[in-house]
Symmetry: C2
Subunit: 227 residues, 2 copies
């Protein structure tokens, strides 16, 4: 019976749309209030549904948090392309700077990651492993990128990739916290200055040449802080 199938598919589509809407609102709510002090009842109220209505989609607050972080990761991967390869690592570094410029346009995401990454530093927080793994991934990915750029003669040969990757990750994180208090801070400019201190003249040329195609302006999921 095709009619029944259509109705079922419409039902699925409605359920998906509702689910995505809840994730979007929960993301904003966690960004504003943190995970620990937010309640399912409050989030349901902001979504305009009942508590059982929300629990139909997500059995508990932890499941909702997991869905919020998973949605961010999927968005990240989709935005991840234009900078990823080539330019002897300088494309990725250029992507980090452009990402920092982009992030100013999505303050809710910065708030979400600043709030949750600090809250989740407690080992019993449900997002603790997520953030621990995420920082490890960002640091090791950035370190590989820096090592490639050094090997290509784009960065100073005496730069230690692991040390510099850690400092870059910390700077991006720290700038986001400071930016929440002073929106005049040019995060991309500061990361750019930091990177240019490490570049050889050849590296600067490769960095400037590494702008992405205009149709794909933003990316660098794994290496950015909120992207």
């Amino acid at each position: 019976m095709p009619g029944t199938k259509d109705a079922r598919e419409r039902g699925y589509a409605n359920g998906r749309a509702r689910r995505e809407e809840i994730i979007r609102i929960a993301s904003e709510y966690f960004a504003e209030r943190g995970f620990l002090s937010a309640t399912i009842l409050e989030i349901a109220a902001v979504c305009g549904i009942s508590r059982p209505g929300l629990l139909h989609h997500f059995p508990d607050k932890e499941a909702l948090l997991e869905a919020v972080l998973e949605a961010r990761d999927i968005e990240d991967r989709e935005r991840f392309r234009p900078y990823a390869r080539g330019h002897g690592g300088m494309g990725v570094l250029r992507g980090m700077v452009d990402l920092a410029a982009h992030n100013r346009l999505v303050p809710g995401l910065i708030e979400l990651f600043v709030r949750l990454s600090s809250e989740a530093s407690a080992p019993d927080h449900p997002a603790h492993e997520y953030f621990r793994d995420r920082y490890e991934r960002i640091r090791s990915g950035t370190s590989r990128t820096l090592a490639a750029a050094i090997a290509h003669g784009h960065l100073r040969p005496d730069l230690d990739p692991d040390d510099a990757a850690l400092r870059l990750t910390a700077a991006m994180d720290g700038l986001q916290t400071l930016w929440l208090y002073d929106r005049s801070i040019d995060m991309a400019g500061r990361i750019g200055t930091m990177l240019r201190e490490w570049m050889t003249p050849e590296g600067e040329a490769a960095f400037d040449a590494a702008a992405p195609a205009p149709a794909e302006p933003l990316a660098m999921a794994e290496h950015g802080q909120v992207g």
Copy 2:
């Protein structure tokens, strides 16, 4: 009647000791749970007193938070001396590195500042102005220090003091968050590498000579993140 006066003074002393004990425990509690999700009832329970007993010392949670931050500032000022003057700004920079080394020994303070600084980025948070002012003070103080060090020929003349101060503040903040996830991170080492990238040979000599007297190992309140 001297007896009455002694009794009254003993009473005051007991009250002060109790008050300090509450501040110490509340500080740990805020560090672990954040300010928003902590309750007066929970903190009273950890202190081993009743809710009215706690409210006798602090009328509400905001007053308790204020007392916690004020106690930190007083401690900071007391620890502030040995690095403050001389060495053409290099003493202060040396103090920042030593402070980062010290902070590993007081993880609760790092947790408190990482937690509260992110939570208080919301403009309606009771500690919002405290952290906004604190970041401004740290940035402008660090900028003055860097300008002095540049003027003394200790740092590269092309370094922009405001830009470098912001990056240094962000790096110290960001390293503390990352450290909560990976205690093997050598925060002092990373800050030291960052500063040495900016130093002239004369600056390195002044930096190495700027170690404080052994009797006063730690300081640098206004320029450190949690000190």
